[in-house]
Symmetry: C3
Subunit: 379 residues, 3 copies
Amino acid sequence: MGTGPVHEALSALELVDHHCHGVVTEDLDRTAFESLLTEGDVWPGSGISPFDSPVGIAVRRYCAPLLDLEPHAPADEYLARRAELGPDEVNRRFLAAAGTGVFCVDTGFAPHAITTPAELAGATGAIAHEVVRLETVAESVAARGVEPDGYADAFRAAALDAVRRPGVVGVKSVAAYRTGFDLDPARPSAAEVTRAARAWLARGGRLEDPVLTRELLWTAVDLGLPLQLHTGFGDNDIRLHRTDPALLTDWLHLTVGTIPVLLLHCWPYQRQAGYLAAVFERVYLDVGLTLHHVGPVRARAVLAEALEITPFRKLLYSSDAYGLAEFYGLGALAFRRGLGDLLQDRVDAGELGLPDALRLARWAGADNARRVYRLSDGH
Amino acid sequence: MGTGPVHEALSALELVDHHCHGVVTEDLDRTAFESLLTEGDVWPGSGISPFDSPVGIAVRRYCAPLLDLEPHAPADEYLARRAELGPDEVNRRFLAAAGTGVFCVDTGFAPHAITTPAELAGATGAIAHEVVRLETVAESVAARGVEPDGYADAFRAAALDAVRRPGVVGVKSVAAYRTGFDLDPARPSAAEVTRAARAWLARGGRLEDPVLTRELLWTAVDLGLPLQLHTGFGDNDIRLHRTDPALLTDWLHLTVGTIPVLLLHCWPYQRQAGYLAAVFERVYLDVGLTLHHVGPVRARAVLAEALEITPFRKLLYSSDAYGLAEFYGLGALAFRRGLGDLLQDRVDAGELGLPDALRLARWAGADNARRVYRLSDGH
Amino acid sequence: MGTGPVHEALSALELVDHHCHGVVTEDLDRTAFESLLTEGDVWPGSGISPFDSPVGIAVRRYCAPLLDLEPHAPADEYLARRAELGPDEVNRRFLAAAGTGVFCVDTGFAPHAITTPAELAGATGAIAHEVVRLETVAESVAARGVEPDGYADAFRAAALDAVRRPGVVGVKSVAAYRTGFDLDPARPSAAEVTRAARAWLARGGRLEDPVLTRELLWTAVDLGLPLQLHTGFGDNDIRLHRTDPALLTDWLHLTVGTIPVLLLHCWPYQRQAGYLAAVFERVYLDVGLTLHHVGPVRARAVLAEALEITPFRKLLYSSDAYGLAEFYGLGALAFRRGLGDLLQDRVDAGELGLPDALRLARWAGADNARRVYRLSDGH
């Protein structure tokens, strides 16, 4: 790992992780651990283990020492030691290593037994905020039962209730998973929404109707809070080419000047995201999720592309960690190291002044998120 | 900055800047300067300054010393010194630093008071040629008044008049901005053009009808001069995904063997542009605009991608500078340094012979443009 | 070239080239050689030679010494020496240099007089397997004459016959060239196939009907053998944006768990291919063709992107060499060196354990292909 004043400053900086999830609180056997280690599934009998992938290599390299093992410890040894320590101790170690001062937690995705935001933050004396996943709100409204022509109002009311809860600082949409972004950007009419709601309520299942997705995005505009949008890389529910954030341009034009829009993950469209951040005042981006999946070495390369034209006020840090405590630590490490190497090398080459580099690091690691989410000092 | 014979050769080479605009001749206050520094807008009250972006860092690093300031001078100091020197002196210094022998100037975009091509070139004893922006010609025809069924002939006549003026070496289209490239590639029928012209002439405004854009591109073929096409990165008028030059493939097949087509900017589609340059005889590319926006460090990375498969006869230099004299200097610096580092490192590693490297540098910096535009010696 | 244990292991490893073609057995004059050197055409009178491109530079750098010339020997000297040695000796030298133990040869593309798989492998004591190009089978069925309503059965029977020949280990489709991947993913109905076959059989020519392409891809599923799919970069028949493998996602969902799918070439969509390999159990990728076209220096960069999230069981080696013996040697060199540099640097930086690096290299260079194609030991 590189050294120098930028690295030192980033090491000392309490990060704001503006997008993450809860950590699993149960013991994890090998299958359960591997299924959380990958965006693919576990493929029994295939002979293909998620440990044999960049994220697996990164876990063995950087997480093993935090469990008192040698770097590159074999997977079996790693899992045995992890079981021996137990989830509370494992979670505490990795969360402490993350050095995160504030977590903004998406609470709308929880197929496992995971921490609440307060539990997540409490483990290390950090502060937790909540991000409301709007698809989850919509699906709760449908599950409770509603007439098609009352759906729009009921969803709006439920979303308002959700965001008025203490600690909520933003909303999130997984439209990328459900429909992709090649949508009609216009707000749908009430009649269109009713018609689409009728079909959905009859059919049941996840919200993945394009009209209702548009309604959801426009409701987010009305709510007035920062909107996080999953873009790019995810599991195989995604149609990757439909998650290119450039496809949002027409919608961004229609909603310009309303709410901050935070493009999450972005890979492999980090340059496209940077373009949007450069030309739309309220568009921001991170390369969370990607950072731990590609590992610290390539995190620098991905960050370098993400920063080619992005204004320095527009890059945020997130881990997008879910489930495994390792990802909070690894995401933070990959961010600190990738950005630190990139900036320090530019300082060393005379390309960038040190005060500028330190400011940029602080902005990306914490201050930009504080501005966007209007977090008060110490929050 | 690297050193070695390739760098020396590129430093000594008078560049042909095959695509640029005029430079502003007035004093620029902070807002005016910042608005020219970014492809986004200036966002008053946002706390987000274009100085806090890669291009702003590059200006402070590389342009400040040309104004007798230290590298990384603060923005306020930079602007104060710039005002003190006045636009004539500032422009002269940066244009001299560019070391450009020939400018091919797009004269069709001039929202500010800017230099004519002769004024631009005259400041440093360079030679100016003109590139006619066809959308501007079409909009002038519409503004003068024409019957819909006379539009096609009137546009063609006006375009012919425009390109017959002394010093005109090519034409340009901003179809990327207006419609994107996912167009029917076929030449539209006379009836289609008349119908589309009727609607446009009634509606007024910019030319952004797809049929009329196709007519414009086919008229360019008839004119027989090299055609510059904006592709990729630009301001927020762009739908980035619709500016991927690969979308032009069908049109390139229909027009193959007619005119040289020059793909401008290309980022983040520089690899796609390289593919087209590799498989179509008369397709060329540059990474202008990108070079100064990403700054010298990343210019090398972008050039490396642009050159992965591109034949060496196909890469040209442009600054795509508009407005700020800084961009002529910074574009030239980023090109010389990015290409110089890339080639010199390959020579040093034994990957490339020095004579080949020198030839490639000369071709990209000047000779390829001379060939495409049929510039005579010394022009 | 880098050195270290990973390089040594890769040098000693007999590669499995899971996708290549035959090598030309005739003398090649300059035009014939140049036309095989490029994915573009030869452009007589243009002054643009394929030697003046990255692949030309790589040939002069790395192939010239194998013909007893200095590195960077001029093209004329290179071609003269090549003619002097004659095709048998030239082919023998480059095939020996490739160090390939197994060739899987696509026999469906042979516009020149080229080696059979047995001749190709025999030159160096290697083993040859065959890959059946399904479009060629379909076009043979059409050429023999068939009724439209018998086409589907006749194609299936012919494909079955073809894959039952000894030595056949897989099938291949060039759907990317013919229609691109933005196809309806569903298996077409018998009536649709008959209708489309009627039109095609009346019209003649290549198979490029979307319905028949879908039929072909679904027949591949029924055949049960690994399916190679050209994706990304190729000659100007391609519409590059329609060859993004992400466009296959819906089809991959419909066929999940059936056959291994091998994404060939992929550039510039290697990250997209890596995503698919990470989230679909039976999706694999290579960056063949690209490796020799970009040359050894950029091969590392392309491999680094291809490996950002790709499970290490999913990367294969191929040269995609066709015609020029140089490409077998150059592809192998670029792979060994690109991957060797990438892995060795990570080992040296403590990012990756040496045993892991060696295993990963062996998997990508040979073992992954052996698994996918069920090649027995020594095959």
